[in-house]
Symmetry: C2
Subunit: 471 residues, 2 copies
Amino acid sequence: MKRSPITVLFGLIFVSLIGCQQTNEQATQYTGDDAVAISLQQQALNSNLAYELVESLTVEVGPRLAGSDKDLVAVEWAVNKLKGLGFDKVYQEAVQVPVWERGHASASVTHPYPQPLVITALGGSVATPKAGLQADIIRFDTLAALKEANSEDVKGKIVFIDHKTERHKTGKGYGITVGGRSRGAVAAAEKGAVGIVIRSIGTDHDRMAHTGMMRYKEGVARIPAAALSSPDADQLNLMLKRSDSVTINLSMSPQSHGVATSYNVIAEVTGATKPDEIVLIGAHLDSWDEGTGAIDDGAGVGIVTAAGKLIQDLPQKPARTVRVVLYAAEEVGLVGGKTYAKDHADELDKHYIAAESDFGAGRIYQLDFRVNEQVLPALQNLTAVMANNGVAKGNNTASGGPDVSMLPNLGVPVASLRQDGTDYFDYHHTPNDTLDKIEPAALAQNVAAYAQFAYLMAQSELQLRPIAKKQ
Amino acid sequence: MKRSPITVLFGLIFVSLIGCQQTNEQATQYTGDDAVAISLQQQALNSNLAYELVESLTVEVGPRLAGSDKDLVAVEWAVNKLKGLGFDKVYQEAVQVPVWERGHASASVTHPYPQPLVITALGGSVATPKAGLQADIIRFDTLAALKEANSEDVKGKIVFIDHKTERHKTGKGYGITVGGRSRGAVAAAEKGAVGIVIRSIGTDHDRMAHTGMMRYKEGVARIPAAALSSPDADQLNLMLKRSDSVTINLSMSPQSHGVATSYNVIAEVTGATKPDEIVLIGAHLDSWDEGTGAIDDGAGVGIVTAAGKLIQDLPQKPARTVRVVLYAAEEVGLVGGKTYAKDHADELDKHYIAAESDFGAGRIYQLDFRVNEQVLPALQNLTAVMANNGVAKGNNTASGGPDVSMLPNLGVPVASLRQDGTDYFDYHHTPNDTLDKIEPAALAQNVAAYAQFAYLMAQSELQLRPIAKKQ
């Protein structure tokens, strides 16, 4: 690439301006809550606590599927860690969670080009018959295309939904394709299919399938549901290019075992002057069973715990209580979040704002809210200091994160600290969700942002309600 | 990064010079063999044949472990393809290959932090007892460190060799660590170990273990041998940081079943004036069983077949015969290569030069030889036209590739067309060795290089012998 002298000149000017800007920022004198926020940022960036927590959780507990033995090991781990960190209060609240066991899962093409396929069972799927389930596949671009299909074409077949998830910083590709995972089995069964396989809801090209929850519907046949790795989905396409009839055999032995008791684990920094008002920062403690749950959601556990600890250790506590909630059983249906909302119904009017960290360890670049539209400019002014940590002001359409997503309709304001999710769906819900995928410096930047957010919210004089109902 | 005006100025001059050079190259008038070579390059870069061959092999045959049913499907595929392409001769030669079946492989940590591990059996490994093999691990940085260990420390344990493979364009990291895979079990058993796990010989961070051949030694106990994925090796390290005693359970059921007959599949373009003299370009037809053998070595099969086809279709055949050899059973011990050398012993003095493509589909950047040192400059002059395709002149230390690596000691000159192997060991010997890892344009660049190489060698008037023996 050639650069014209003019371009080079502008480049030099640009570099110089950046330099000046940095110098000016460094020179800014912060006062009051902003000064505390800056100090929290510096402490967060100099601390390894969040990473140590994720390492401890992923190594010493490892996979912790809701309702499994390891789920309770994780609860014990969390209670001990939070107590050890010296929070004002640490307690746990029972959550009834569904128990689903993965068993084995294998698949192969039996015609026209016999060979194994890499699959994983979708969470909640029923088993195949012991001898496996063998049928021709019928391919659809999307869940929507399946819904428009003729039942006669689908009947007796294994549906293959081949929707590719696009990579994007916001992770928005996931929302577009995930319906095929959660609702594909019902749509397929309604057309008479005997099973369903989907192209993994993921952005990678690894020979690793992405699991995740699927649902059945009362009155519709429960058919086995699995995800194919991206290269295996490609392989089926290349076979369909060569042959009208591609037959596969699915063999899976997952089992559901009713419900078990798990726990939301909660720690608090008691507010100095408004202790009954709550700023909630959460993450979920459970994970899928194939990875060690590092990015989903060990990262979140580390981030909000370390952020809470920084506030716990402040010489002067903020006005409101900061409540760190490590939710149970997010993966299997936001069970901990729903239980919390129900159990704390009487107290929700005292929840000033809530936010969950559940999107890996990519850096936070933007702070979105869902608050009274009138107060947004003032709130953005109040949190402007977070720009120092790379967090720009955002919009008023936050969901808050999965386990707090039901709160806005119950009147509770929420915030979304938007993370760079460019590679999140490469690893999400796969065996590849392991500690090595986390960059410690990015994790610390998240801690800084959550600590600043929680502190500023706990000190805020603004009235954030009422909020518009979610659509 | 700031650029000084001087640096910018040099940059501009450099860019301008590059521009001039390209213009000059484009204007060069080639004559004789060089003109044919340039035409071969253009045809190769405009052809999709190699990619179509790899796609066909990986989709229609898929995994093809030597000695398996699919191995013979691959042989039939190759014979049909080569005949269909219209080579002057197509034939097959029997090779007796060992039969090894993978069975299942699983592992878990049982103490102090119970959780599953991702492993794969190493090729040739024996099984564990049915109930699994449970023992404490003992970690070594390298095979060399294991060899220096005290038997009393190793006895009754499962050895863990934790040697990381460094990423490098040449792939040289592999040569440094692969001894732990091939010879680790013998070294461990000699110290009294009951099993061995190694950090995968790979450069990725995927939760996928790399298989590959291992060997036993007469008179030394045969212990089960497996590879751990890189994140699982990390996980063991983090456990060893916390506890002196880490116990794992290995469960594997591979079986050896004697020998079976496979075939080297051979195609020839008969030389116009020296038909009994041979320029050999090879690749191997077999693959490991967990991927579809796209980069290892579907790519090579596509490259040398498409290169041979371009020469087959020349209006004027070159002087010597160009022989395309698709070797059997490379992965399990260079069995096809060794058999070829033995079966063709009488004819080896008629082999002008040999080269194998077995390093994926990365672009070729350099041409190395192993020829009479005196002739190297003239030979580099003869092949200078290949620079047009990005192939620079190299050195005189070529090995030629695995299946021709025994030929130099039998007097046969070889060449290595060096490929960029930066990401080759991310996928090598894993389920991730699939078609999506091949870039069609890079594959075509390889075809161009092999076609030019084979043609120029088949026309060369140079005497390449005698060569120095390999060390």
